[in-house]
C-alpha cells in the first residue's frame, strides 16, 4: 500500500506541463477559437516525440509497457492545459484497446492488422478516433487516419475514408466532435463476441477515467486563475481575495478538488477490472471530478465578475473544457445511475475495509 506517485511519474507529468504551456498557451488557444491556427500537426508531433502516445503500449509494439497509474497524471495535465489534442483518447483509450484486441485476436490476419495499427497509434504515426455507444458524439484528432468503432459486441478498425462523420461544433473549439453515420459493414478489421464486448467495456472505463483526470486538471487550472485574479483585483480599497466571502468560495472549491484527486488516482489502479468495484470506482471518479470542475468553473467566473465574460480573458477556455468533459464518456446521468444502482441496489459490498477490494 503506497499512495505516493514515483519521482518518474511526477517528472513525466512535469515534462508534459512544460510542453503544454507552449502548445496550449492562451495565445494558441485563442487562435484555434478564432480559426487562425494551423499548428495541429506540430502539436501532435511534439506529443509523439515525448513518447506520450506509447505509455500504455506493450514494449513489443514500441511502447513503454506502463500502467494506467502511470498515465493518470498525464491525463490530469492534459486537462490542466485544456490541451487541444485528444491525447487521452489516443494514448489512454485507443492504444490499450488495440493492444487488448491484438493480443486476443483469433486469426493471424486480424492479429497482424491490429498489431500494425497498435504500433502506428503508439508512435503517433496514426491518429485514431474511438467511437463508442456511450458517446453520442466522437472526439477525433484533426485529420484522423483511423476510427475504432465499438458496438455492443463488435469492435471495428476502419480507415478514415471508410467513415462518414458529421461535425458537431461545441462551445469548446479545442475538441472536434463528430456524429458517426453507421460505417459500412464490409469494411475494416472486425473483432466480435465476448472479447470485443469486454474490450469495448474496458475502453469506456478508461475513457471515463481519463475524462475525470482531465476534469481534475482543469478544475485546478480554473482555481489557480481565480486565486490569482482575487489577489490582484482591488475593490473597495482591498484585493477581493481579502474578503471572507471570496475566500470561502475558493476554499470550498479546494476541498472538492482535493477529495476528487485520490478518487481518480485510485480508480486508475483498477480501471481494467471488470467487477462492480471497478465500475463504482470509475463512476465515482467521474462524478467527483465533474463536480469539482463544475464548482471551480462557477466560482472562477463569480470571482472574475464581468471580466470573466470577456473573450480576451483566458478563463473561458477552461470553463468550456470543463463543460465538454462533463459530457464525455458517460455524462452525469450515466454515472449517477450506475453508482446508485451499485450502492443502493446492494450489488456492491459496502462498509469499512472494502475500499480496495
Amino acid at each position: 500500500m503506497d499512495f505516493n506517485f514515483s519521482e518518474e511519474q511526477r517528472m513525466m507529468a512535469g515534462a508534459l506541463r512544460e510542453l503544454a504551456a507552449d502548445l496550449s498557451s492562451g495565445e494558441r488557444l485563442r487562435a484555434i477559437y478564432d480559426g487562425t491556427d494551423s499548428a495541429d500537426r506540430q502539436r501532435w508531433d511534439a506529443l509523439a516525440e515525448l513518447g506520450l502516445f506509447s505509455v500504455l503500449a506493450p514494449q513489443g509494439s514500441g511502447g513503454m509497457s506502463l500502467t494506467d497509474s502511470d498515465f493518470i497524471l498525464l491525463a490530469e495535465e492534459a486537462g490542466h492545459a485544456a490541451l487541444p489534442v485528444p491525447l487521452c483518447e489516443q494514448a489512454g483509450v485507443a492504444v490499450p484497446l488495440l493492444a487488448e484486441l491484438a493480443g486476443g485476436a483469433a486469426d493471424s490476419g486480424t492479429a497482424a492488422a491490429l498489431a500494425e495499427a497498435l504500433q502506428a497509434a503508439a508512435s503517433g504515426a496514426s491518429r485514431v478516433a474511438v467511437a463508442h455507444p456511450i458517446n453520442p458524439f466522437t472526439l477525433a484528432p484533426a485529420d484522423p487516419t483511423h476510427w475504432l468503432v465499438c458496438n455492443a459486441d463488435t469492435v471495428r478498425l476502419l480507415e478514415a475514408r471508410e467513415v462518414k462523420a458529421v461535425p458537431e461544433p461545441t462551445a469548446d473549439a479545442g475538441r472536434l466532435l463528430y456524429r458517426l453515420e453507421a460505417p459500412l459493414q464490409q469494411h475494416g478489421v472486425t473483432v466480435r463476441g465476448a472479447a470485443a464486448a469486454a474490450a469495448a467495456a474496458r475502453a469506456a472505463q478508461r475513457g471515463a477515467l481519463y475524462a475525470a483526470a482531465q476534469s481534475v486538471g482543469v478544475a485546478q487550472r480554473l482555481t489557480d486563475i481565480a486565486v490569482s485574479y482575487a489577489c490582484e483585483r482591488v475593490q473597495f480599497g482591498k484585493p477581493i481575495g481579502a474578503y471572507q466571502a471570496i475566500k470561502h468560495h475558493l476554499a470550498n472549491v479546494q476541498v472538492k478538488l482535493e477529495f476528487a484527486r485520490p478518487v481518480v488516482y485510485a480508480a486508475a489502479t483498477r480501471v481494467a477490472d471488470p467487477d462492480a468495484g471497478a465500475q463504482a470506482a470509475v463512476s465515482h471518479a467521474a462524478l467527483a471530478a465533474a463536480a469539482a470542475a463544475d464548482l471551480a468553473a462557477r466560482t472562477a467566473i463569480q470571482v472574475h465578475g464581468a471580466m470573466g465574460y470577456s473573450w480576451e480573458v483566458d478563463l473561458h477556455f477552461y470553463m468550456k473544457r470543463a463543460w465538454a468533459l462533463a459530457g464525455s464518456w458517460g455524462a452525469h446521468s450515466f454515472h449517477a445511475r450506475r453508482i446508485q444502482a451499485l450502492v443502493c441496489g446492494g450489488e456492491l459490498t459496502l462498509g469499512p475495509g472494502q475500499t480496495f477490494e
Partner: protein, 388 residues
C-alpha cells in the same frame, strides 16, 4: 378582501387582450440574438411593433406612451408576453431602469423629451456604470464631466456596458467635482452615443458575440439639459436606479416560469435515461419560479397599498439569480453530451438555447450588484448585523 388571490374581471380582460395581440404579432421565427448587429436591428423593430400596439411600457402614464397600468396588470402583461415566447426586450435599460429614474428625478422637459421615445422603441439606451477599476465598487469611478458654459465635457472610460455596441444613448455617472472622492461630486448624465468624442468598442463575450462594449469619452460634449438632477446628486440617483434594477421589474417571474416549463419538457424527453434525482431538480425549478412569482405579486400588492421596496430587492436578486443557475444547470445535466453543442451543430436540441441560457445564468450572481454584496446588504440592513 385581503389575501384575495383571484383576478378581477378587468384583469382577466386585460389578459385576454394581451394574449390575442401577442398571438397575432409575435414573430413565428425566433429573432437573431440581440448581441449581434442584425439581431439588434430585429429587436429594435420588435420594440416599434410593440409600441404600435401601445404595449411599450404599460405601467407608464398615457402621456409618455403607457397605459397607466398598475403593477398587477404589469405582471399579467409579462405572463402573457413570456407565454407567447415573445422576443427579449432590447429596450430594457430604458424602460426598466432609466425610465423610472427619469420619472423620479427628471424635469418635465426631460420626461417629455425622453420617455415617449423610449416607450416607442425609437431610442435604445445603454448603461454606462462600470469602469475598469470600478466594478462592484461603483464609488471608485474616475470618468469626469467638466462644466464649460452650458455644456459638460466628458472624459473617461466606461466598460461592461450592455447594449452599447448598437444603442443610441447611454446613461451613467461622471465626476463633476475633480477634488471629490468616493460617493461625492458625482453627477448623472444622459449622453448620445453617436456624436464626436464618443468611441464605442464592442467587447466580445465568451459566447463570441459583443454583448458588452467599452465606451471611450474623449472630450464628448453634452448640454447641461442632459444632466439628470443636480451636480453632486449622481450617486443618490444611481443608487435609486440600481434599486430599480434589483427591484420588481427587471427579472419577470414569467421568464423563469417559461424556462421551468421548458425544463419539464426536457425532462420528459430524457426521463428514461436520466439520473432520477434530476426529477427533484426539475420540480425545484418549477417551485422556485412559482415562489418568485408569488413573492412578486405579494410585493406588488404591498407597493400598491403604499408600501416601498427597499432591501427586499436584495432578497429578490439572490433568489432569481440562484434559481436561474439551478434551472439551467439542471438542463445542462439532462442534456449530457448535447449540453455543449453550439447552435449550429446538427444535433443541437432545438428552440431552447440552453447553453446560451446557462452562460447567461452564470452572470446572474454577478451583475446588478454581486450576490456577495446583496448578502451584506441583507445582513446589515434587514437583519441588523454589525458592519464589518
Amino acid at each position: 378582501m385581503p389575501l384575495d388571490l383571484t383576478f378581477t374581471p378587468q384583469q382577466q380582460a386585460l389578459r385576454a387582450e394581451v394574449r390575442a395581440w401577442m398571438t397575432a404579432h409575435v414573430p413565428r421565427t425566433p429573432l437573431a440574438t440581440l448581441e449581434g448587429e442584425a439581431g439588434f436591428a430585429q429587436h429594435r423593430q420588435w420594440e416599434r411593433t410593440l409600441a404600435s400596439g401601445n404595449w411599450g411600457m404599460i405601467t407608464w402614464p398615457r402621456e409618455y406612451g403607457g397605459r397607466g397600468a398598475n403593477l398587477i396588470e404589469w405582471l399579467i402583461f409579462e405572463e402573457e408576453y413570456y407565454r407567447a415566447n415573445a422576443p427579449l426586450r432590447v429596450n430594457q435599460n430604458g424602460i426598466f431602469l432609466l425610465g423610472p429614474t427619469l420619472m423620479e428625478f427628471g424635469t418635465a422637459q426631460q420626461k417629455a423629451r425622453f420617455l415617449p421615445r423610449m416607450a416607442a422603441g425609437e431610442e435604445i439606451w445603454a448603461q454606462a456604470w462600470s469602469e475598469p477599476q470600478a466594478g462592484s465598487d461603483l464609488a471608485g469611478i474616475r470618468a469626469t464631466a467638466q462644466r464649460e458654459g452650458d455644456q459638460y465635457v466628458l472624459r473617461g472610460h466606461k466598460i461592461w456596458s450592455s447594449r452599447a455596441a448598437f444603442a443610441d444613448w447611454c446613461f451613467g455617472i461622471f465626476r463633476t467635482d475633480p477634488a471629490s472622492g468616493r460617493h461625492n461630486g458625482l453627477t448623472f448624465m444622459l449622453v448620445p452615443l453617436r456624436q464626436p468624442g464618443v468611441r464605442v468598442r464592442g467587447i466580445r463575450q465568451i459566447h463570441g458575440e459583443p454583448g458588452f462594449a467599452e465606451i471611450f469619452f474623449e472630450e464628448a460634449r453634452v448640454p447641461v439639459a442632459n444632466r439628470l438632477g443636480e451636480e453632486g446628486q449622481g450617486w443618490h440617483i444611481a443608487m435609486a436606479t440600481a434599486g430599480f434594477e434589483r427591484g420588481l421589474m427587471l427579472r419577470s417571474p414569467a421568464r423563469f416560469q417559461a424556462a421551468a416549463q421548458r425544463l419539464a419538457h426536457l425532462w420528459r424527453s430524457h426521463a428514461t435515461q436520466a439520473d432520477p434525482a434530476l426529477a427533484a431538480q426539475v420540480a425545484q425549478a418549477w417551485m422556485d419560479a412559482e415562489a418568485y412569482a408569488l413573492n412578486t405579486y405579494r410585493t406588488a400588492s404591498r407597493l400598491m397599498a403604499g408600501g416601498t421596496i427597499g432591501v427586499e430587492a436584495s432578497l429578490n436578486k439572490i433568489f432569481w439569480s440562484e434559481l436561474d443557475l439551478q434551472l439551467h444547470g439542471t438542463a445542462m445535466r439532462l442534456l449530457g453530451a448535447h449540453a455543449a453543442l453550439r447552435a449550429q451543430a446538427p444535433d443541437v436540441v432545438q428552440d431552447a438555447g440552453w447553453l446560451e441560457g446557462y452562460i447567461f445564468s452564470l452572470a446572474g450572481p454577478i451583475y446588478a450588484g454581486t450576490n456577495e454584496i446583496q448578502r451584506n446588504v441583507i445582513a446589515e440592513r434587514l437583519l441588523g448585523l454589525p458592519r464589518g
